[in-house]
């Protein structure tokens, strides 16, 4: 399983990245969390508002920062 955080390095993107790391830690699972800052890759997902969170290639949320609990719920 892989979580990607889309965003070109704004404050909100870092916040989301930290929330995702925290959620993974709490879940105790082996999950890779990666930042995607390349605009070509971001656009490839069809996301217009950042930050966005993608799990295994599926956009879960765009343009807002989900809470740690919410992200944890998505980790299977």
């Amino acid at each position: 399983m892989k979580i990607e955080i889309l965003g070109m390095g704004c404050a909100n993107c870092n916040k989301l990245y930290e929330n995702a790391l925290e959620a993974v830690k709490l879940s105790g699972k082996e999950v890779e969390v990666a930042k995607v800052e390349d605009i070509k890759k971001i656009m490839g997902y069809g996301v217009l508002s950042t930050p966005a969170l993608v799990i295994d290639g599926v956009v879960k949320v765009a343009g807002k920062i989900p809470k740690v609990e919410e992200i944890k719920g998505w980790i299977k």
Partner: protein, 315 residues
């Protein structure tokens, strides 16, 4: 009721004399603080719910079928309700242009979105009244439409960074929230936003209360009053490089108006600060060639100056 409560607190609990400068200033401060924060909570909450129905992906779909004029007007209006953060400007711009939204229409959106929002509306409404709030929204919209049409007419398509036209935009379905989730989201959003802006709002109200009670006012009038024909362009030139959201400008706006600067000049300053900024130029440089970037700033600044003169003339 709020007025009575504020007066009770100040004159009975604090035991200050009505009619004194200190008493009046504190009374004004407490009353305005309650009024503005109640308005902010209610309006931010409802706007957050409305906004959840207009994610940028949907706005793009609506605009991609539109031509000039109608498209510019619609883009300006959608800019008000579509959530926007300057860090999203690049993906948004690329997504719009790639899906066939005309360049001028895209710019109308990019201008209105940061400039007109619920926080600006509430603060202007609470502190300066309905007329000024509506004037700000109306003319902000006008600026976004006129500037967008002008850029459309200039056929600037070749001054967009070349790579944008080679971009492949995916078509992910962004999951929609259920109504219950929207309510929770709106509640959290309201809390977060208030947490960020409350110091500015308090300072803004405090500055207003202080001036209300103390400053007789005339300092700025001498330099930037109605008699100085260059006051509007100078205010806009100062405002353009500065960056702040609407809430951050309110203390300055309060101070300027309290000291007698005319409303058109003040609103022009506020628009210049919120619509254009140096950091925004840096972000937009990713998608625009220098020439279009300069033209964009030039046209928007000119439109804001025109609006400033218009206000000063009719009010």
């Amino acid at each position: 009721m709020l007025k009575k409560f504020a007066a009770y607190v100040v004159f009975n609990l604090f035991d200050l004399e009505p009619g004194t400068h200190l008493g009046e200033a504190i009374n004004f401060f407490i009353y305005d603080t309650m009024k503005v924060f109640i308005l902010l909570i209610v309006i931010i909450f409802f706007v957050a719910i409305i906004r959840s129905y207009f994610p940028p992906e949907r706005t793009r779909r609506i605009l991609s079928r539109k031509r000039q004029y109608l498209g510019n007007g619609l883009a300006g209006l959608l800019g008000i309700v579509t959530p926007f953060c300057s860090c999203s400007a690049v993906p948004l711009f690329i997504g719009f242009v790639e899906s066939g939204v005309p360049l001028g229409v895209t710019f109308s959106f990019l201008i209105s979105s940061p400039m007109i929002n619920e926080v600006a509306l509430v603060l202007l409404l609470g502190l300066f009244g309905l007329k000024i709030a509506l004037l700000y929204v109306g003319t902000g919209l006008l600026v976004s439409i006129i500037a967008g049409i002008a850029i459309g007419k200039l056929r600037m398509e070749k001054y967009v960074q070349d790579y944008i036209y080679q971009m492949k935009v995916g078509s992910a379905e962004i999951p929609q929230q259920k109504f219950r989730e929207k309510i929770v989201y709106a509640r959290d959003y309201t809390k977060d936003l208030l947490k960020r802006i409350w110091p500015y709002v308090l300072i803004g109200i405090g500055v207003g209360g202080f001036i209300h009670g103390y400053v007789p006012s005339d300092f700025l009038v001498k330099y930037a009053g109605p008699d100085n024909p260059f006051a509007v362009p100078v205010a806009v030139l100062i405002g353009v490089p500065l960056y702040s959201n609407a809430a951050g400008t309110i203390p300055i706006v309060q101070a300027l108006m309290g000291k007698g600067m005319p409303i058109g000049t003040v609103l022009a300053f506020m628009m210049a600060v919120t619509a254009l900024s140096f950091p925004e130029a840096v972000i937009l440089k990713n998608v625009l060639k220098m020439r279009l970037l300069l033209i964009f700033f030039g046209i928007v600044a000119a439109a804001i100056v025109a609006v400033g003169y218009l206000f000063n003339a009719i009010l």
